[in-house]
């Protein structure tokens, strides 16, 4: 065996090791997969499913009727879309379109193997996936085009397949052609020249789209030599230019991997391995009921820590956020009390989230506050007084929309949102921190944000009520706001305390349910005993009680 492993089967750096490894590992993996599918599903079942899938597809195709009036030709739109994809490919590409896993990286890539020999298998697998997807899309297009547009396009599938391969090549070439300093600069420059064809094609597609649009001939045909022309022209010539371009890029891809790996390929492969591991752990966390809540709360031990994923992505794309923070809140003063440090810790964790995620969290919090207002004070706020002349009821269960159940649902929604506002879990461990201080500090930013959001939530609820035809009773606004404020305090404090006491991350449904049920308890019990007007004061008393529990 060792003789085979060391046998030189080609140029320098090309040994039999890689083919040997692939034969063994791929063959065994395929065999294991075949057995597993056979046992788990059964091959006869799969054949049966395939048979019926084919039958359904044929039946579906036969039912397609041509439109009475055909749609205008999409040539110009397709040209524009194709140009956008090409341009985005040409201006992006700081991350590789495919990477090695850790084993291949350490066992093969660091060895004296030609890079293309190591990467070839993964490249081919990626190509196969792209081709299959393109063929399916192209086939669907070919079947629908005569009915929708009144023309035939039987070369759509092969053309899309070629373009899918071309796009993968371009993404790789763009990645390896980024400007590098030092010894890699010349190689990167050589790779850049292979992108010229794609650049010219992109320009022509842009020109074609612009000409079609400006001349008012949005439905005209695209020139036969342009990519995507096969979607509107039924001629084998549509394949010619894409094929020539593909030939060119394929040669360039192999050439780019003839002797050396791209400079940042190995670290990026490692980062992508970590990202994959993070995704797997997040998936498992979700399956175990530890979803991030609406706000994407942080779980224990960093599970669901969106910041970690963000930092890895920054490292992958060589952006500064990987090693240093993009945004910072001023540090608390050196004389600051403990609670202020803990509040800063929660706030900075929230503030350093990706902007989109932060925005999503705040919108979710706003909607949760609308729900809390509607459930707890929505009755008086959206009084029917304007419609039937009756006086607005006082804030209590009599003013609640949906009664105690409404409060429970709103509290649950609030708890899920608040889990994303609490910031990272803070384990006291052996630190000299009092649980009351911890709770106060950790919940302060969340409660502050939610209280501020009460005002826009009240306005939003009033606007929604007005739109639905209900009169808005501003006299009842203050009691409604106070009721909602007591409920949000109760929910957030209960969530933090139960989560810290039990060790269950606040993003889990269990602490959220506990907090919601505790918060809804006064409304439920007092409503059942017919003293719903006591709900508000009881909520405040319960809030005080929860606040001083030393856990």
């Amino acid at each position: 065996m060792s003789a085979r492993l060391s046998a030189d089967t080609g140029g320098p750096g090309r040994t039999a090791a890689v083919p040997y490894l692939r034969r063994r590992t791929v063959g065994r993996a395929a065999e294991s997969y075949r057995r597993w599918i056979g046992r788990a599903v059964g091959w006869w079942t799969i054949l049966y499913l395939i048979f019926w899938l084919v039958v359904f597809v044929i039946a579906g195709v036969e039912t397609i009727e041509p439109l009475p009036t055909f749609l205008p030709s999409p040539a110009a739109v397709l040209s524009a879309a194709g140009a956008v994809v090409l341009v985005l490919t040409l201006i992006g590409g700081r991350a590789p379109p495919l990477t090695l896993d850790k084993r291949d990286l350490y066992r093969l890539a660091l060895g004296p193997q030609q890079p293309w020999a190591v990467l070839r298998w993964r490249y081919r697998v990626k190509q196969a996936g792209a081709v299959v997807a393109a063929l399916v899309i192209g086939a669907v297009w070919s079947l629908l085009a005569p009915a929708l547009f009144g023309f035939q396009a039987w070369y759509a599938a092969p053309e899309l397949a070629i373009l899918a391969l071309l796009l993968l090549d371009l993404r790789w070439l763009r990645y390896v052609s980024h400007a590098h300093h030092g010894p890699h600069a010349a190689r990167a420059a050589a790779n850049r020249t292979s992108l010229l064809v794609a650049g010219v094609l992109a320009l022509l597609m842009v020109a074609s789209a612009v000409l079609n649009f400006t001349s008012g001939a949005g439905g005209a045909e695209a020139p036969v030599f342009l990519p995507l022309a096969g979607l509107t022209i039924n001629s084998p010539w549509v394949l010619l230019i894409p094929l020539i371009a593909l030939f060119n890029t394929q040669l360039a891809v192999v050439k780019s991997l003839r002797s050396e790996w791209p400079p940042r390929f190995a670290p990026q492969s490692l980062v992508l391995s970590q990202l994959q591991a993070l995704r797997t752990s997040q998936l498992m966390a979700v399956m175990a009921g530890m979803s991030g809540g609406f706000g994407g709360g942080m779980g224990l031990a960093g599970i669901g820590d969106s910041g970690q994923r963000r930092r890895l992505l920054d490292a992958l794309h060589d952006r500064p956020g990987a090693t240093k923070p993009r945004r910072s809140l001023p540090l608390p003063g050196s004389q600051a009390p403990q609670w202020q440090a803990l509040a800063w810790r929660s706030a900075v964790g929230l503030y350093r989230r990706p902007l989109l995620r932060l925005g999503f969290t705040l919108v979710a919090a706003l909607l949760a506050m609308v729900a809390v207002l509607a459930a707890h004070g929505g009755g008086p706020l959206l009084s029917a007084a304007g419609q039937d002349g009756a006086a607005a009821p006082a804030a209590g269960t009599t003013g609640m929309l949906g009664g105690a159940l409404g409060v429970l649902l709103a509290a649950l929604l609030l708890a899920r949102t608040a889990s994303g506002l609490l910031g990272p879990h803070f384990d006291i461990g052996v630190k000299p921190v009092d649980p009351l201080t911890r709770s106060f500090g950790r919940t302060l930013p969340a409660i502050g944000i939610l209280v501020v959001l009460l005002v826009p939530a009240a306005l939003l609820l009033s606007w929604l009520g007005s739109s639905a035809g209900a009169a808005v009773s501003l006299d009842s606004l203050l009691p409604a706001l106070i009721g909602a404020a007591s409920l949000l305090g109760l929910v957030v404090l209960s969530l933090e305390k139960y989560s810290s006491w039990s060790g269950a991350a606040a993003s889990r449904i269990e602490p959220q349910l506990v907090a919601a049920m505790l918060a809804a308890l006064p409304a439920l019990l007092l409503g059942a005993f017919g003293v719903g007007d006591w709900t508000l004061i009881t909520q405040f008393m319960l809030l005080g009680l929860v606040a001083i529990i030393p856990v």
């Binding site: 240093k324 403990q338 440090a341 803990l342 810790r345 000299p432």
Partner: protein, 227 residues
């Protein structure tokens, strides 16, 4: 909530100013029904530096964790004459675990300030930053520790503990991952800590540092303490 600042003077932290930093009596620690630490009785005095040695699996880390209250135990543990779980006692010691427990989304500088505020020790952040500089990390103060090596993370963890200057410092395998220069720097720092009246207890295998540390040697073997 507690907002009172604990003065830099360790003796001001409250009870039992004459009591030894560590005193155990017939201490047992069991995990899964198996005694990991058996009948351990010892006292660590002020100004003492104890090096707990023993083969892998002897129970060194277990004993340390039990001392600070991270593991349940049977028998008696007093830190400064008080049960190890009380808030007043926790303000008087610092524990450095074998794996650095850091926040991946806080920079080194932010770690220093946050740690000082959590322990309410004035200037602890400045001292931690000084230690980071001595360990050669002054250029990394505004970076996340997540991208740093094991040794660099260990240096941060140690700097935070050294900056606090608590009357009792407990360290689990503190030399792991450190380069030779940093090992010597840490050994000198721990020796100085003990010389100034603080008590230090650490675990480790670094016999080459015994001369530098001049420790009281404690050997744990099969859960039994010798020395």
């Amino acid at each position: 909530m507690s907002t009172s600042r604990n003065q830099a003077d360790p003796a001001a932290a409250g009870a039992g100013s004459d009591a030894p930093p560590i005193s155990t009596d017939e201490l047992y620690v069991s995990l899964g029904g198996v005694h990991i630490v058996e009948d351990v009785t010892f006292t660590l005095k002020r100004g003492e530096l104890a090096l707990l040695t023993g083969p892998n699996g002897a129970g060194k880390s277990t004993l340390l964790r039990a001392l600070v209250g991270l593991l349940p135990s049977r028998g008696n543990i007093d830190l400064f004459g008080r049960p190890n779980g009380s808030l007043a006692v926790r303000q008087r010691f610092v524990f450095v675990p074998d794996e650095p427990a850091l926040y991946e989304d806080l920079t080194l500088r932010e770690h220093a300030r946050f740690n000082a505020l959590v322990y309410q020790v004035q200037d602890a952040d400045d001292r931690a930053l000084e230690w980071l500089a001595r360990f050669g990390l002054e250029e990394k103060l505004d970076e996340f520790p997540g991208t740093h090596s094991r040794g660099m993370r260990q240096k941060l963890s140690l700097s935070l503990a050294l900056g606090l200057e608590r009357p009792l410092t407990l360290l689990d395998e503190p030399f792991n991952g450190l380069d030779i220069e940093s090992q010597e720097l840490l050994a000198d720092a721990l020796r100085a800590r003990a010389s100034s009246g603080g008590a230090v207890m650490l675990t480790g295998h670094q016999v080459e540092l015994v001369d530098r540390l001049k420790p009281r040697l404690l050997r744990l073997d099969n859960g039994l303490l010798h020395g």
